[in-house]
Amino acid sequence: MIDSNNPVKRVRKNVNKSVADPLPGMETQAGEALPPNTPPVNVAVATPDPPDKPEPVDPFDPASLRINPNTAAGAIGVKRKLVTLKVDKPDKMEFCRVHPGEAYRIDTAIVMDKTNRESYLVAPALWPELPDFITLVRLCVAVNRHGTTFLWPAKLPDPNGRPMDWHTSMLEAQELATKSWVRVQADMSAGSYAVFEATGNLPEPEWTELSLAELLKLAFKTRFIDSIHHPFLQELFGEA
């Protein structure tokens, strides 16, 4: 055996290891309470009568090494931000719910662009000027089973005309959807929408935190008509 024993005795640097400090090494993560190091050799410290020696703490005790996963990862919050919103009746294949709050529905007027399958929200001041183009609708905030929020329009009956089953059945479906999961599907032979109510024990939906005004802004963005000079109206009038 060869032992190149260095004759110089090793001097521990800056650490005055006391009897009460049995800890060979310690490294902590922020926020963890661990025994402090003893002061360097040259620091004068007033030493009152020593209290009872605390029990030595094993710095490698797994219980003291545990990192709280909630501070490691949980402090970072991420939530889904709604950036678009569909305005359409629900697909005939999907069940949905309507927000039961009165603040989450509005009777208003829209102009349909059937060619591009888009709708435009119209400011009330313009309604008298656009009687031939606007459609009176009830817009409800709804959510489907995938958790996707959308605005569900249902045509309101013409106050001067005969109520149509297509319209009334859709409005009734909206009403029913405030309490249970429903699906609507056109029934051509009946001339109305067939409304299906889910009978399973389905959970309540999670509602968006946004207000109706914010949702309308998201849904219609550039498709809000508040001037007679709106490009889409000009197109309708044959002026552009």
Binding site: R66, A73, I76, P203
Partner: protein
């Protein structure tokens, strides 16, 4: 290096040794150097044989540093030395620093040196000297000198790497990981008891067994030509029987085991062929590492997977994929083994870490799968495993699948049901356990935002973009499960329990027949404690299955048929060859 100053001594250690497969190491030489004083110790084979203790302190004031140190501690145990109290394993730390990537230069000490920009001994020179060590003694004085110099070059390398890595190391948790490397050496030293006689018979008769197996299964298929599986015959069989089969991008039949397994679910007639192909490809009996004392000792390869779990060689380790082969595990006379496994470990971790009350309730019910079905309204509240086996089975698959982030298509294939059925099941899971899902997504978000995820003891996965979110979502369950297993192995080996090996979320222990019940009780208590520490107070129960000599180990529901068949064929072939 201030943190190292707090240890009275820091020893970098390396052994050279020879170790045939399945045997314990025969130590060739040791070199150790104290990090601060540079005191160097070189000990050759003959001197080592006379030493009762290591030539340096190994108490709590000493830090022992090594690279992939379970090999060093195996040498300690071979020499009858006390294991060191504090270990820093730079392999574990190198792995932890880069886990999630694949360093171009590999995970070995040479790779580590190169990663940090150091020169190293050429690979060919290293190989030559390694072969000299593996050859075994006796050595000439020149050979021993060369071996000691070679060994010292690794110690030099350790010192370099230690200096550069130290600022990146979370020391207390690194020492915690080092503690596990000692437990690994205890387990690798113990090994798994194997029925040598039967193994010898299987090895002797393996060729006739294979022929017989093929003949008995192929009778119904006609797809083998002698020992070779013929793709064109298999295609003809599929056409004859009207079985559609997936193809590869190149248009050939997909013949991988996953495809066979999936197809066997839809077409059970395929199952025997799948089992045969699997058995033929996986059963490499000659590679199973069994020592002359009848113990299977395979390198457990700790921290080798991304989750930090062990990744032992499938061919060398008895708990490789050939389930039926585990029938070779048999305790010696007067001895017993016990397979102790945590009950639904990953589910419990998910419930505890996500703090989902519904998931905790499901776990506490004792049958989380049925409880999930009840919570989702799929079965009545009075339902039992017997009254609603089909529903329970589907909800079980769904519950397990969600932990791996399985898609609706994957789940549908696994259940052999329409995608809509799987979609509905997954939706119910989301609705029943919303807190878990939010937590799970939060883990993925955190990984993507911070570039890493870590366990309660700091095992880290680094993300570099392009990571699979499902894999990241599963990381907390897998990696904290691995932490729990490591801690339990440390506590149990330190308590003097003989652990043959860890197996995913189970531990195989061994004791005398009359002591096995106490050993199981103690092990379960330790596993509970490990669970409580990792899960911050949550209890995790375990189940135990005891096998006493002369019984064999056998999985409850898998492998028995194949074992019986192979055993019968081997016995017949052996009789025939004995009595021509």
């Amino acid at each position: 290096m201030d943190r190292l100053n707090r240890f009275v001594s820091v020893w970098s250690i390396d052994f050279e040794f020879s170790q045939p497969p399945g045997e314990r190491p025969t130590v060739v030489c040791l070199v150790a150097r104290e990090y601060h004083t540079k005191r160097l110790i070189r000990v050759g084979m003959d001197d080592l044989a006379t030493m009762k203790q290591p030539p340096f302190e190994v108490g709590t004031d000493t830090l022992c540093v090594a690279y992939f140190s379970s090999a060093e501690w195996n040498c300690f145990l071979s020499l009858g030395w006390t294991l060191p109290a504090r270990v820093l394993d730079l392999y574990c730390e190198f792995r932890n620093l880069l886990n999630g990537t694949r360093p171009a230069t590999g995970w070995g000490l040479l790779g580590c040196l190169m990663h940090f920009g150091f020169d190293s001994m050429s690979a060919s020179e290293k190989q030559e000297l390694r072969e000299l060590a593996i050859r075994g003694g006796p050595y000439t004085s020149d050979e021993m000198l060369a071996l000691l110099d070679y060994c010292q070059s690794d110690v030099d390398a350790l010192d370099k790497v230690l200096t550069v890595m130290m600022p990146m190391i979370d020391l207390p948790r690194a020492v915690h990981r080092g503690r596990y490397m000692k437990a690994v050496s205890c387990m690798e030293t113990a090994g798994v008891p194997i029925d040598l006689e039967t193994l010898s018979m299987f090895r002797r008769q393996w060729e006739p067994i294979k022929r017989q197996l093929i003949a008995s299964v192929d009778e119904a298929f006609g797809v083998f030509d002698e020992m070779t599986f013929k793709q064109d015959r298999f295609a003809a069989y599929l056409i004859r029987n009207g079985i559609p089969w997936p193809t590869t991008d190149s248009g050939r039949l997909a013949l991988d085991d996953d495809t066979f397994r999936q197809q066997a679910r839809s077409y059970p007639v395929i199952s025997p062929l799948r089992e045969l192909r699997h058995a033929l490809s996986e059963m490499k009996l000659e590679k199973l590492a069994v020592g002359l004392d009848g113990r299977n000792r395979a390198m457990l390869s700790p921290f080798s997977s991304r989750s930090g779990r062990n990744q032992p060689s499938n061919n060398r380790f008895i708990f490789g994929p050939s389930v039926w082969l585990r029938g070779l595990i048999r305790p010696e006379g007067g001895r017993a083994i016990a397979y102790v496994d945590w009950s639904q470990q990953e589910l419990r971790i998910a419930a505890a870490m996500s703090a989902d009350p519904a998931l905790s309730q499901a776990y506490a019910s004792g049958d989380p799968y049925l409880e999930f079905a009840k919570m989702a309204g799929a079965v009545p509240s009075m339902a039992t495993k017997k009254s609603h086996p089909v529903e329970r089975s589907a909800y079980k698959v769904c519950m397990l699948a969600t932990q791996y982030g399985m898609s609706e298509h994957g789940l549908a294939a696994k259940l052999n049901k329409p995608v809509a059925f799987a979609r509905n099941l997954l939706r119910r899971h989301r609705e029943t356990f919303p807190v878990f899902w939010r937590w799970s997504q939060q883990q993925v978000d955190a990984a993507m935002l911070t570039g890493r995820l870590q366990t309660v003891f700091g095992w880290t996965i680094h993300t570099f973009g392009g990571d699979n979110p499902r894999s990241l979502a599963n990381f907390p369950m897998q990696a904290n499960g691995a932490e729990m297993m490591r801690l339990a192995c440390c506590l149990a080996t330190e308590a003097g329990i003989t652990i043959c090996c860890p197996v995913h979320d189970a531990i195989l222990i061994e004791a005398d027949v009359d002591a096995i019940d106490d050993a199981v009780e103690q092990t379960q208590s330790i596993m509970r404690e490990a669970g409580r520490i990792v899960l911050d107070g949550f209890d995790l129960e375990s189940d135990a299955k005891i096998i006493r000599h002369p019984e064999r180990y056998m999985d409850d529901d898998r492998g028995r048929e194949m074992w019986d068949r192979v055993f019968r064929l081997a016995s017949e072939a052996d009789r025939t060859s004995d009595n021509p």
